[in-house]
């Protein structure tokens, strides 16, 4: 599983290209600037749902995050969100995967300059 996620690039260049065509560089940068906040918020919401032992809410949040991540071309995060939504059968199994999610968010934010947006230094989950 871990290998599969690592194999997944942080960003889907094809989706980024589609967004760039549709929005132009400047608007794409503005859109991508939303992403760090959205990713951090999703991580914290999932953590809160885990603390409440609410597996249904975790899955719903994972589904929503999958939509955000995939639409912004964040392929690796979208893949983890799919795992959370579809494959996790217990709170414990998701808790186990939270560090991987945090790492993936950090890696994705670190790769943002490669797709045209440079967040302020030190933006991490």
């Amino acid at each position: 599983m871990q290998r599969r996620l690592i194999d997944q690039p942080p960003f889907d260049q094809a989706q980024i290209a589609l967004l760039r065509d549709a929005l132009g560089d400047e608007d794409l940068r503005a859109m991508l600037s939303e992403f760090p906040g959205a990713a951090g918020q999703a991580f914290h919401k999932i953590g809160t749902a885990l603390a409440s032992n609410d597996l249904g809410e975790v899955r719903r949040l994972a589904h929503a995050f999958k939509g955000v991540a995939s639409s912004f071309g964040a392929a690796r995060l979208a893949a983890i969100a799919v795992e959370f939504e579809m494959e996790a059968t217990s709170i414990a199994s998701i808790v186990q995967r939270m560090p991987a999610l945090a790492d993936a968010i950090d890696e994705t934010l670190a790769a943002l300059p490669d797709v045209g947006y440079a967040p302020s230094a030190g933006a991490k989950v």
């Binding site: 589609l18 065509d21 132009g24 992403f35 959205a38 939509g67």
Partner: protein, 428 residues
Amino acid sequence: MSALSRAGTIEPRTDGNIFDSKILIVDDERPCCKLLAGILRRNKFTNFLFAEGGVSALEQIQSFQPDLVLLDMQMPDLSGLGVCLRVRANPAFVDLPILVQTATVDRKEMGILFEAGASDFLSKPINPSELVSRVTVHLERLNLLRELRAYRERTFQELDAARRMQFDLLPARPVQQEIVAAKGVRIASWSRSSSEIGGDLWGMVPINAASFGIFLADFAGHGVTAALNTFRLHALIHEHTALHGDPPRLLSMLNERLAAVLPPGQFATFMYIVVDSSADRVSFASAGAPPPIVTLGLDGAAVLAEVSGLPLGVVRGAKYELHDRPFGPGSMLLLFSDGLSEFPDDKGRRIGDEGLRSVVDTCHAGLTPHQVIDRLCHAAGVGEDNALPDDTTVVCVDRRTGSASRSCRECLTGQESMPEAPRPCSDV
């Protein structure tokens, strides 16, 4: 999906401006809302509102009255499916395009979504050109639908005005009363068009203290063209008052005038009858009209007054013959358009002229003229709720006044029940 040109800009395929359309974006993930709006803004769309949940989406739909909704499926308070169901339950939003965004392309789920009223779906991750194309297509479709509705409404109003104007061509009750006053005659009529307006026209003209003229015209076809021709004919008849006492000359004049203006294929059958109550006779001429049914006195059998003549407007120079018959007290005369005799019942059978004549033969003297018309319509299968394939008119001229207490002529038992039948438009 060809709304996007090669240069990436939208080329609308309708005249209406879709770019000012109100678009409600519903998603509990604000970045997704911004992304959708950003893509659409770059493609000239300008008017957005956002909702972050299903409940607020319903509120915004009521207050914002959007032209299109982009709806996320998964929301914490009310799902996209729930929103679809509630929106479609309101007849005001039955045509509102709802484009559901979903990351799940599950065939069963898609079926449920469409059943709930989704107009279309957008896959996630968002494909910008798919988004723009689908939004464009649905807004253009909505514009076309609105244009069509407006056109239909305007046409309906105009046809309704035309129908009322055409109705005003028919002799009003006071006019009928004035014309038949002191002539010992009752008049009843029933007329209905196969569509909003039609090509049948009947009318009455005063001639002198003892006589009046009555006519029934039926223009070929029905609808607007036929109806406009009835206005032409009405004007011509009332313009030439000097000919009202001379049926053949009146028909010749009408034929010449109509033949000069009507294009090929447009013509009218026409029956014109002068009722002379002092001479106790009717004189008449026909331009291809169905034969009137005449009864002579209370005990006389009903007969078809067969006459011939070319329809009006077919060819110039047509000649029309004068016919006359006794029409003393107790007599009755029925004019009808072929919409009545040729009306197909539910088995496709038509009563025909002879069938109508035989019905008149069974009408006893106690029936009012409109009851006679009711019987004819019922026997022909024509009811108030029937769709008529042709414009239909029946006019009854009745000299049986004061004879209602007399026994019926040929009604066998007098026990028939009066059927449901059309209400006559007049019975003087």
